[in-house]
């Protein structure tokens, strides 16, 4: 068992990181922590993919023409992850901007408090229009 865990160390670490991020999304009320949790999930998936592309004794895929394919790692996951990282960054920036707007409106980062305040705001709005 321990042998297998050591053998698949990257996959196991990716699973653990993913679970940490996932449970944070559920349980932590703070929005900034939720965003960090989401980033943890992102990086866990990237780590998993990059580990899939590794082959024993392979070198980085800088290939002079006519070289043997056996001596290099798999470039496909690298390309996927590379673009994924940049997209993850832009979504994170978007989440942070939304968080800032929420904070300006409700003066709180705590999701529970925000939900309560917004419910009261809705009732108030209904009353005004009625």
């Amino acid at each position: 068992m321990l042998e297998a865990l050591l053998e698949q160390r990257y996959y196991v670490a990716a699973v653990v990181l993913f679970s940490i991020g996932f449970v944070t999304l559920f349980l932590h009320p703070n929005l900034i922590k939720k965003i960090i949790g989401l980033n943890l999930m992102d990086t866990a998936v990237f780590l998993f993919l990059a580990a899939m592309g590794y082959v024993d004794g392979g070198k980085a895929p800088i290939v002079p023409p006519g070289a043997e394919a056996e001596t290099y790692v798999n470039p496909v996951p690298g390309g996927l992850v590379l673009t994924g990282i940049v997209v993850a960054v832009s979504t994170t920036a978007l989440f942070l901007a939304l968080t800032h707007r929420l904070y300006r409106r409700y003066h709180s980062l705590n999701l529970d408090v925000i939900l309560m305040l917004s419910r009261e705001g809705e009732e108030d709005g209904n009353h005004k229009t009625a």
């Binding site: 024993d56 980085a60 496909v76 003066h107």
Partner: protein, 338 residues
């Protein structure tokens, strides 16, 4: 909708000014109820430790409601009037919510544990890490590695892949970046709060930054230009360049940077680069999926001017990424008020 937003902001700004210790004047006299409430809040956090203002208001309001100080028709926090008592409120049993919260916590932990267990079982059943005969290392990777230099002209297989074989994918990624920057601009841009206060760099930033800045920018340019020859490419080099621009804004000051690189210009440059990318890669639409039939000269693999369109595409992607990172920075910096 817009109007309430504006008043809310005004309120926030006033709080910031009061927090800075500004004396009340005019209509914001000491008898201003908002100012009084704010003073109480300051005293409260001095006595009890920090609490967010929203949470504080909610707590105060609940307290007063429980004491019966305010009838149920009294205003809720933030608002002038509230509905009469909720019909469904008394129906809730007191312990009910706590139970639900407990159940929620238990369920979320259980779901995560089950998921993690499944993932772990799958991970242990996967082909061994680093195995050469794993199905992930199939003919696709072999083709990219063996034929890549001749077909794309790029020595770096990753760049050759994302900017030639899968260039449409990358076009989509760049569009996503642009869309994210655009929505962040919509969310955060506020022309009324253009005023920025910049205190000037401190000595250490000045000393280190001025020496590091050219090196970082040069390194970014190097990574972008050599994307097809060495590790890197548009995305990595663009990120380094973006970091360099942020450092430049820290060292030179935001006013100077605003003159050198106004936000209007970065948006325009990004759009132009995106269009250029689309035009350069759009010919595949006409020549078929394999872009056969219209050969861009590939050059000798390993030289700087080789790889056909990869170099200009890399420059486009690099500029898009750098501008987006810098735009994010300026947007998040705006509205600083001390």
């Amino acid at each position: 909708m817009k109007r309430t937003d504006r008043t809310r902001e005004g309120w926030y700004e006033r709080f910031l000014r009061w927090a800075g210790g500004e004396e009340p004047d005019g209509p914001e006299g000491p008898e201003d109820p908002e100012r009084q409430e704010f003073q109480e809040y300051l005293e409260y956090i001095d006595a009890h430790g920090y609490l967010e203002f929203g949470a504080y208001r909610l707590m105060r309001w609940k307290e007063r409601k429980e004491k019966g100080l305010i009838p149920d028709t009294a205003p809720a926090p933030h608002h002038e009037a509230a509905k009469p008592a909720q019909p469904e409120l008394p129906k809730r049993r007191p312990g009910r919510l706590r139970q639900q919260v407990k159940l929620y916590r238990f369920l979320s932990v259980a779901v995560t544990a089950v998921l993690a267990g499944i993932f772990l079982a799958v991970a242990l059943a996967l082909p061994t890490f680093g195995d050469r005969s794993a199905p992930a290392v199939n003919e696709v990777a072999r083709r990219y590695l063996e034929q890549g230099p001749e077909e794309t002209g790029a020595v770096n297989a990753v760049t050759g892949m994302i900017l030639d074989y899968r260039a449409f994918d990358t076009f989509g990624e760049s569009a996503v970046l642009f869309a994210a920057a655009a929505s962040t601009i919509l969310l955060l841009n506020n022309p009324r709060r253009r005023v920025r206060t910049f205190r000037g760099p401190d000595e250490l930033t000045n000393l280190l930054g001025r020496r590091l800045l050219p090196v970082i920018l040069l390194f970014g340019v190097y990574i972008v230009l050599n994307g097809h020859l060495s590790p890197g490419g548009g995305f990595s080099g663009g990120a380094v360049l973006g970091g360099g621009l942020i450092l430049a804004s820290l060292v030179l000051g935001e006013e100077r940077m605003e003159q050198l690189l106004p936000s209007r210009r970065t948006t325009r440059v990004t759009a132009v680069c995106l269009l250029a990318y689309g035009v350069m890669k759009g010919y595949s639409f006409f020549t078929g999926g394999n872009h056969v039939g219209w050969d861009v000269p590939k050059g000798t693999p390993g030289e700087l001017f080789s790889g056909g369109l990869i170099l200009p595409l890399n420059i486009c992607v690099g500029v898009i990424v750098a501008c987006t990172m810098y735009t994010f920075y300026t947007l998040f910096l705006e509205g600083e008020e001390e």
